[in-house]
């Protein structure tokens, strides 16, 4: 039994109380004295040259305080990309500029090119309508293949062929991979699209810029998953405000899923406007605006090939992908289809030869960046789909073909042909668990029941692995990352023994305030209720790289453990002095410091008190106070993995797909709070179901967004998803972080889409539609019906 409030307990979330009573404090809830409101004017054309912008009428409108355009930002820098990827030929990628407001050209529908600040939001919006812009419409570049083929029409002049890079992973292995294909007894080929998604955190983005002309300090309240990174980007690249003059505060944040990792131009714009007006300036994004301006996710067009022998042993994998970057390079955009995708193309399998080629393409669409899973769902989907197709072609059971190619438990640490070293795992175990939980034996009976209702039942399997807990800074540095990816924590033990933990990770649904307190409570042997987690304010927290890539626990949690070790070390010194014993004889157990082999002890609170009221204290050798900071830079990624099973019913008359069972067996390493882990999986699975069946961003050939609201972009609703069976009892602890934790935030979004699609294809095959080998996501009723009857 885990201790109440400690590691392994499903402690209820303390943050829930404020959210359940309407006391959460999200950016849009904050109102500063004297604030004005900003509204952005966004391009209605996908591609156009700005001939002139006449703001004079707008400036005369009631309540208008300022109108700004791209001209006002020519002196400041631009929003950079965080990763510089190298092309196959060794050339460094192209990095087209991304200004705060569009200047010279607009490059996608929704590209902001002017900003009005007024006394009220409606006045600002009214005035936006009065801005007269003369924009010469240029042909829109929407389709990636066309963008690559026609280089006379360019999104950016700096990117002369619309291709940012042409990446080969690992280029040196290419010849060997091709050779393996030459001689392979069987090759399965699949062309597929990983559909573009809109992240749709339910809280729309919002920012408030607050410049203090008395001190010259800037404050930015913003919907961010990583306030320190935002501060760094604004300071070092965009506006040149020194970091010690800029505070970024991300208060309660209503979900992120990647879309709030990045720095957006609106953040810089409200800071600049606040300085100009010497008043706080607030901007709250509408949902329609969010569809046009929040970074999208996925959008790969891929050809994957799997070479096997006739028994289904994998010999080689080869992929070619066009990855859509959209109109500008968002902060992580170049890393997602490369280092978060290519490096995962081995999956949990011992395929000896793997080669991945990715071309990143600019188009006149909203920028694309990491969305829950980021690159790993794309890799997993390609691989798990082609494996099912190969199994079908070879007449091998989908469970069997996977099992025979798994890396075996005794092969760890395992070096993959795509550059990763998996530290630990047991893929057979999660697969066995899945088989047990998904009642394979009962399937035929359920299929018969479905048939009686006129429905086709199918089962789909997928396995997944991801590299998360990103990441070792030296490794990502070699790969082109411009920042480090450690995290930091400060533990401040206050004089009366309660504890503030200042963490770099940001919580926007993950429950850090509860889970991190559990960790500290267990480690320091104190009551979790006396531990307070502080996050989201750069003026309070030493540093941090934020929350994404399932990294909070593995990286920031580890930093906390290191800081706690320092606290214990110092506590031992204090205790040794107080107890008049040698430091080496002091033991720390369950919240008290004692002299080994005696009953002489000091409680944690007594030690803390003495550190702050150092009357009886080794002042000659030790500073007063009890506060320690640690930075943790992981030695490797972590590699959670799992197996998912999906059962569907297809209505052959309408093409409608119902998910009737969904089962997950995951290995997340050690689990701190099982309730929260299950919740993370549920959410990820629902997003995976969304991608597989419902969601997809659609542009027409003019670059107009056809899915610009919930009227056309289908979000998973309560009646679209079933109850889920989730299990995380298979545990192979991570070998290189102090918690043995691997990360669970993205699992569902990674493992789910192929399981769903495999299930639908299976249902169709069982019903005799053997010619259908693939349907592109989302598998809407109309697409499924058309595949069957078209």
């Amino acid at each position: 039994m885990p201790k109440d409030g400690g590691i392994g307990a499903s402690t209820l979330r303390r943050e829930d109380i404020r959210f359940l009573t309407g006391k959460g404090r999200y950016t849009a809830d904050i109102n500063l004295r004297g604030q004005a409101f900003a509204c952005f004017l966004r391009s209605e054309v996908a591609h156009g040259r700005i001939r002139s912008i006449d703001t004079s009428a707008a400036e005369e409108m009631p309540g208008v305080l300022a109108v700004m355009t791209g001209e006002d930002f020519t002196e400041v820098g631009g929003n950079p990309t965080g990763w510089l990827v190298q092309s196959r030929d060794g050339a460094t990628m192209k990095e087209p500029k991304r200004p705060v407001l569009a200047h010279g050209k607009v490059r996608h529908v929704g590209d902001a090119y002017a900003l009005v600040v007024a006394e009220t939001y409606e006045q600002a919006k009214d005035a936006c309508e009065a801005i007269e812009a003369d924009i010469e419409e240029l042909p829109a570049i929407v389709d990636m293949a066309a963008a690559v083929a026609d280089t006379t029409n360019r999104v950016h002049d700096e990117c002369d062929d619309n291709v940012v890079f042409d990446w080969g992973w690992i280029e040196e292995n290419r010849a060997a991979v091709d050779a393996a294909f030459e001689t392979a007894p069987h090759v399965t080929t699949l062309e597929l699209v990983n559909n573009r998604l809109s992240p749709n955190a339910m809280e729309p983005r919002a920012s408030i810029g607050d410049f203090d002309s008395g001190t010259g300090d800037y404050k930015l309240y913003t919907t961010s998953q990583n306030p320190h990174l935002t501060r760094l980007l604004i300071s070092a690249f965009v506006m040149g405000i020194p970091e010690n003059k800029l505070t970024v505060i991300a208060p309660d944040v209503g979900g992120g899923f990647g879309s709030k990792i990045y720095h957006y131009g609106e953040e810089a714009a409200v800071l600049a406007a606040s300085k100009r007006l010497d008043r706080p300036v607030k901007w709250v994004c509408d949902r329609s605006e969010a569809f046009l301006s929040d970074a999208h996710g996925r959008d790969h067009v891929t050809k994957i090939q799997l070479a096997t022998d006739m028994e289904g042993n994998f010999l080689a994998v080869r992929t070619e992908t066009l990855a859509n970057m959209g109109a500008y390079l968002s902060n992580f955009a170049t890393c997602t289809p490369t280092f978060l995708h290519g490096t995962l193309m081995a999956g949990p399998y011992k395929t000896p030869h793997v080669y991945v080629n990715v071309k990143a393409v600019m188009t006149n669409t909203v920028p694309v960046d990491a969305y829950r899973g980021a690159g790993r769902p794309e890799a997993t989907y390609s691989l798990e789909r082609v494996i099912d197709k190969a199994a079908d072609e070879l007449g091998i059971d989908p469970w069997e073909i996977r099992r025979k190619n798994f890396i075996d438990p005794d092969q760890f640490p395992y070096t993959t042909p795509v550059g990763l070293v998996y530290d630990t795992g047991n893929y057979h175990a999660t697969m066995d668990k899945l088989r047990e939980l998904s009642d394979v034996a009962g399937f035929e009976a359920r299929a018969t029941e479905s048939a009686a209702k006129g429905k086709l039942r199918g089962f789909g399997l997928s396995t997944w692995i991801e590299a998360c807990g990103i990441a070792p800074s030296n490794l990502v540095g070699v790969l082109g990352c411009r920042v480090g990816l450690y995290d930091a924590a400060t533990i401040r033990v206050n004089a009366t023994g309660n504890i503030s933990v200042l963490v770099g990770a940001h919580s926007h649904g993950q429950g850090h305030e509860t889970v991190f307190a559990q960790l500290i409570a267990e480690k320091l042997g104190v009551d979790a209720k006396s531990v307070e987690i502080v996050h989201g304010d750069t003026s309070k927290i030493p540093f941090g790289m934020g929350t994404y890539g399932s990294r909070s626990l593995a990286v920031c949690g580890s930093a906390m453990m290191k800081a706690a070790d320092k606290i214990i070390d110092k506590g031992k010194k204090i205790a040794a002095h107080m107890l008049e014993a040698a430091e080496g004889d002091i033991e720390f157990n369950d919240g008290s410091f004692s002299v080994a082999g005696t009953d002489r002890q000091k409680s944690f609170a007594e030690i803390a008190f003495s550190a702050y009221v150092p009357h009886n204290y080794p002042l000659e050798t030790l500073e007063p106070g009890l506060e320690e900071t640690a930075f943790y830079d992981p030695a490797n990624f972590t590699y959670p993995a799992g197996a998912y099973g999906c059962e569907v019913e297809v209505d052959p008359e309408t093409g409608g797909v119902d998910i009737v069972r969904f089962t997950c067996a995951d290995d997340f390493g050690n689990v701190i709070n099982p309730m929260i882990v299950a919740g993370q999986v549920h959410g990820g699975v629902a997003q995976g179901i969304g991608q597989a069946l419902l969601e997809g961003v659609v542009y027409n050939e003019d670059g107009q967004l056809l899915t610009g609201s919930y009227m056309d972009y289908a979000m998973p609703r309560a009646d679209d998803v079933p109850n889920f069976t989730v299990d995380h009892s298979c545990v192979t602890p991570c070998t290189h972080n102090p918690l043995g934790a691997k990360g669970c935030g993205e699992a569902g979004a990674i493992g789910t889409p192929p399981a769903v699609v495999n299930a639908v294809i299976d249902a169709l095959h069982r019903a005799g539609h053997r010619h259908i080998t693939h349907i592109d996501m989302p598998l809407t009723p109309s697409r499924v019906w058309t595949a069957m009857h078209g």
Binding site: E129, T707, D712, T780, S782, W785, T786, G790
Partner: protein, 261 residues
């Protein structure tokens, strides 16, 4: 949204008078009008709220069938029409979600005549009479194309009279995002014939599928529509379904509606 003046008349006569002003528009549940004003797609200068007009609310059984007040919310119809006209009540209870049903009204829905709306199928499929402040309009003459009706400027739907069929059912296949009808089929069997009204599918909005009416009039069984060919010509097509797909749904849902009736 742009600013406007709101007036809240207490009677139909006052409402009609208030609607006489330049730029005035009726506001009922607001579940269509307010979103379009928020998007600045509509900018009336004066809104005439129908919400306080008691004579426009409620459901009651009369000699001309079921009378539903023009400002009656969907939730009320779902509850109060159940005993008299279950298919109509069921349709009302499947519109949007509980919050939308608490506000949105039958008059607003019919006046708006969204090609994917549900009520037009019930009105046309029942052969309802739309009663306004100045006249009565047969459903067959009321719907005149996408978002277009026989209503004149400032004319208000005060009630709708539904003849009650022997049997009826509505089948809705939801558009996955909006949950409006991708296709909806209302089938009603009267002593003197069958009416089949289709929403969501037609390029010109709601329409009657006369071949199916004839076939079902002769033989009111699902099999009766089996042999009918429904052309994809004239069907709506968009990312949620091509014309051929919608044509298929019309047939499948018609069969299912007959089976459920």
């Amino acid at each position: 949204m742009h600013d406007f003046e709101l007036v809240k008349p207490a009677s139909v006569a006052e409402a009609v008078a208030a609607l006489g002003a330049e730029g005035a528009q009726a506001l009922s549940g607001g579940q269509t009008l307010l979103p379009s004003m928020k998007q600045r797609l509509a900018a009336p200068e004066r809104l005439v709220s129908l919400g306080d007009i008691a004579e426009m609310k409620g459901v009651c059984l009369g000699d001309r069938g079921l009378a539903v007040g023009g400002a009656t919310p969907h939730a009320v119809v779902a509850r109060e029409a159940k005993a008299h006209y279950p298919a109509l009540a069921w349709l009302a209870g499947e519109i949007g979600d509980p919050s939308v049903r608490a506000r949105g009204t039958i008059g607003g829905s019919l006046a708006n005549n969204d090609p994917a709306a549900c009520y037009p199928a019930a009105a046309l499929g029942s052969g309802a009479t739309i009663v306004t402040d100045r006249r009565e309009i047969a459903a067959d003459a009321f719907f005149q194309g996408l978002f277009t009706t026989a209503l004149e400027e400032g004319e208000i739907i005060t009630s709708v009279h539904f003849p009650i069929p022997e049997k009826a059912a509505y089948m809705k296949f939801a558009q996955p995002a909006s949950r409006f009808a991708l296709v909806g089929v209302f089938v009603a069997k009267f002593a003197d014939g069958v009416r089949v009204a289709i929403t969501g599918a037609g390029e010109d909005g709601v329409f009657r599928w006369t071949e199916a009416e004839a076939a079902l009039g002769a033989d009111f069984r699902p099999e009766a529509v089996e042999g009918l060919a429904l052309s994809a010509g004239g069907m709506l097509g968009d990312m949620h379904g091509a014309p051929a797909y919608r044509a298929n749904l019309v047939k499948v849902l018609t069969r299912r509606a007959v089976a459920a009736a």
